[in-house]
Symmetry: C2
Subunit: 380 residues, 2 copies
Amino acid sequence: MGSHQKGERGGSSNGSGGGAMVVDKGVDFAQYFCTYAFLYHQKEMLSDRVRMDAYFNAIFENKHHFKGKTVLDVGAGSGILAMWSAQAGARKVYAVEATKMSGHAQTLVKANNLQDVVEVLEGSMEDVILPEKVDVIISEWMGYFLLRESMFDSVICARDRWLKPDGVMYPSHARMWMAPIRSGLGDQKKSDYDGAMNDWDAFMEETKEYYGVDMSALKKPFSEEQMKYYLQTSLWQNLHPHQLIGTAAIIKEIDCLTATVNDILKVKSDFLSSITFENTRLCGFGGWFDVHFRGSKVNPAQREIELTTAPSVDNGTHWGQQVFLLHPPVHVIEGDVISVSFTMDRSKENHRLMEVELGCEIKQSSSKQPPPFRNKYYIE
Amino acid sequence: MGSHQKGERGGSSNGSGGGAMVVDKGVDFAQYFCTYAFLYHQKEMLSDRVRMDAYFNAIFENKHHFKGKTVLDVGAGSGILAMWSAQAGARKVYAVEATKMSGHAQTLVKANNLQDVVEVLEGSMEDVILPEKVDVIISEWMGYFLLRESMFDSVICARDRWLKPDGVMYPSHARMWMAPIRSGLGDQKKSDYDGAMNDWDAFMEETKEYYGVDMSALKKPFSEEQMKYYLQTSLWQNLHPHQLIGTAAIIKEIDCLTATVNDILKVKSDFLSSITFENTRLCGFGGWFDVHFRGSKVNPAQREIELTTAPSVDNGTHWGQQVFLLHPPVHVIEGDVISVSFTMDRSKENHRLMEVELGCEIKQSSSKQPPPFRNKYYIE
């Protein structure tokens, strides 16, 4: 579930070294969960046709996984996946939802005459107790660039506690992708940054002249704050496929049946990308994800379904892509090879937000090599 | 300090009946304090010339209150008030700031060579321990419509613990005002609401047709959610004086030297307003505040300064005014009298946000009386 909510930094999550950090539940609710209690937000996700089609088809083209079976929907929201599971023939469906949206899910279950099958439980996945283990865990847990929101932790918790030994995960697999892009955004953001700094200079002069206080000592921290805001924070974008200027690479693969929280704390990938555009500017990188519904090895899907959030003209999703800008852009030509080292970790202040380091070396066919660089980014 | 930050609803503050509620500090930090840690936000407030002029003049035109005295700046932010107090001759100034902005305040104090006088303390006013009581408490604590953010609680706490018996408060007095207004906003928001509901109808049809789930049971809660969002949430506006169509009334008066938290938990006022426009539409009410720097009875100001946020062409402030919309608007003519009963309480979920009830009866000079009504609003 991609959410535009900015995870406000600050707060009191305590790091406890390796492994998942201890999270203050009140803070987590105030910062994260609360936007999902709004019907408007649920409607946005329910109106995403690509998302809806993928889950709908994954379920109804694979009824053998659901007929007469027990199902757990993690983070059920309005209950749509739970209701589809029931309509596909499930014997029993547990729909777990942490926010007051659970009340609306209950209303819908009743209105759609599925109350004999679907049981809505309000609470967090970590706290809820089910009366039995389940055959299927279904969840729409994906955030921007897959892992923003860190909701998969809750799915792992559900799986480890409630999935039967031969149970299946819906989706079964997930991958993160990156590719070099061209974009006018970098110029725009740099221009906004310059404007903010000019504004600051005028502000400093006025404060000195009219109010007798010298603010120049804060110019550097202000510029760092503005730089972070304009050029170091990843942006939500709906990229056009034409903006991809080089080959895309898979930077993370997750088997939803076996992945541990430890496996997903860090994303680390060194990859190469060949420029496929004749003559252009490398303006940054775009990141996206896909998930697949393949069932398990012992219990495979009859029809494998893919949900991709790659740049697309007609099949865009509410997730868009995440864009990491480079400024100034670098001139590249077809055949140039970009060597990227990408690292993504959870933010210490808020485990649902990410910090990225992106190192880049351009091996150009011409003799002139631009110097390698390493940038820091924040997924907020 | 007016802040555009939406206090996200949800969270875990516990109500404990009458009196101030117990607030989870982590939640409070995540929801409220964190925006003040940004230099961009401090700069916005420091660029508000009306605000800056008022405090600057209040201090420097009343140096007798500061020369050789001790001062406490509550919620010091960048430290501007603390620095002015030192420049006005204070012997010692304690600048208390809860966020990491305190580090920047320290930098500025040093850069302006005031470190012998100004001591910056990072922490909340409720927790901090000072080495002595003070002669003056200065603070810029006012939120939208004065009380949003409920920061005055912290000033009261400071005053009760640290102000000497004959000490003075800067500002010394505060008042809330309301007046009937005309505005095109109500029509706009109603139109937005209608659009959202049409959108919902289309969404319901598609979800039923393509996905076999009937969402109609949620139409009513969705409409309530949208109504609240579009028409029942007070808006920040920079009203033009021409938009005031009737006499303004004082709905709350606060003596900063004696007010208790209990005094400010509830604002309740019944007032009358006479329409002063020949022929117009009553589209809602505007609310604003003013504060005064008068010193105390035993230790008065030499020059009394006023800071007002009333609608103004040239002297607008970052606080703007808060607008409570009426839809549909009511036709009124000069001489009509509006009888208003206004109540404002703190939100149970978040003590820094407000819930308003506004009852209205229009005594029209013509024989036709529109029915009285009572609306609920949210200051978010």
